[in-house]
Symmetry: C2
Subunit: 228 residues, 2 copies
DNA sequence: ATTGCAATCAAACGTTCGTTTGAATGCTAA
DNA sequence: TTAGCATTCAAACGAACGTTTGATTGCAAT
């Protein structure tokens, strides 16, 4: 083939520099709020480099996402594989499912030196991202993990209606997302809290478990009759 | 003074039409993703009308927010006033505080005919909004309500460390915000759920109460000694 | 009738946007 | 040494952006 493409990794680091700069800027200012000139300037590359290496701004955004979301998905699936293997036929405990799902995300969010934290902030914001093409590939790249974990949650809570479980998973993702991405936002609102960030994970897991195992609301209990 | 300004309500409806159109477009495409031309076109007004009536795009965004957030703040404070008056000296129950805080928000979110739903979607997204000026006035307009409700929560949970309460309030706001603003986003991920939207409020309150009253994580219990 | 002013309008302002172009650069393989 | 090709670069593209301008409209008070 071509010369530098021997290891399929053209251009020693300008691709990576672009991805890192874009990741940070997208997290900081959003997709529409970040310009190509900001990205290439912060990455110290030529303006045309993004279009040369990635094709377009949208494709760059997608690649920024894919790079780390892929890793996160792998970690989550590995955790679940391990847990299910250890459990054999038995259903997992809800706390185990949560640990498998949110553990890797929180650990990635705690990594402030390799961009993991930046990416998790970006991920949290992107759930509510308006842009159409973002929703599209988010759903695609999330599909397998969400499918496996919802099934695992169903099994771990056999007496809880499935719709309720889906909702609570939704609520939990919201809580985690805010905890990760919106810390400074809340600090503005409630006054700063000079607090040990290492305590975030135990705080969150305790809260999430409490919510997940909360008694069903009356209206739902009454409405559900013949559901499995 | 001037003629039409007799009731301080110039121009029968073009201001309102602009605000409504902007509210929807900002919720749908974000601040940077919405253009003046989209707004004025959807409102069927001249392009210059926004700058004439509001001064700038940022000022328009601020006004879109102020219009409804003011109402939401009033409702929340009224609820709290009523609850505290009924309780006399006694602290409120946590469920009451949550009802006062999230009740008005959820009711506003359920109002799909007067723009309340649209605004709550916008509000949810704006917590994670990158733009600086947005954070600024969000914090200002939220300050009083947050102050009063955190104090009420402190009193309702006297044995829980205050830092923990603030965190859990944060988590709860995340869950609610997602529940309101990201419904379609999650639908993409987990498959649609054809579900009664009237059940959202009981579902949420149950989940939130479970999380709020969850046992403290060990690490926190161990770390806290002399705190009130 | 006429004056005054709030409101609306079409048109243009200068700037910034994402993207494209075509030439220069530098390394690799022949 | 030379040919080939991936990469970088300065420059420019047309389009869209938020905002401003100056004329026009239409009603209310004189």
């Amino acid at each position: 083939m071509s010369q530098a493409a021997a290891d399929n990794r053209n251009s020693p680091d300008t691709r990576e520099r672009i991805l890192d700069a874009a990741e940070w800027l997208f997290a900081e200012h959003g997709f529409d709020g970040t310009s190509m000139r900001q990205i290439t300037s912060q990455a110290s590359v030529n303006l045309a480099a993004v279009n040369y290496h990635f094709g377009s701004k949208e494709a760059l955004f997608h690649e920024v996402f894919h790079r780390r979301l892929n890793q996160l998905n792998l970690l989550r699936l590995q955790e679940l594989d391990k847990l299910e293997q250890e459990a054999g036929e038995a259903p997992l405990k809800p706390s185990q499912v949560l640990e498998g799902f949110f553990g890797p995300a929180l650990e990635m969010a705690a990594d402030t030196t390799h961009g993991g934290h930046t990416f998790m902030r970006l991920l949290g914001r992107t759930y509510t991202e308006p842009a159409e093409f973002v929703r599209k590939f988010m759903a695609e790249e999330y599909a397998e993990v969400m499918e496996r974990y919802t099934v695992a949650l169903y099994r771990s809570l056999p007496d809880v209606p499935r719709a309720e479980i889906v909702w609570r998973l939704h609520f939990m993702m919201g809580a985690v997302s805010y905890a990760i991405s919106g810390i400074d936002a809340l600090a503005l609102v409630t006054g700063r809290f000079d607090d040990d960030p290492a305590l975030l994970k135990p705080r969150l897991t305790s809260f999430l478990l409490g919510g997940l195992r909360a008694p069903l609301p009356e209206q739902v209990t009454n409405a559900v009759k013949g559901e499995k």
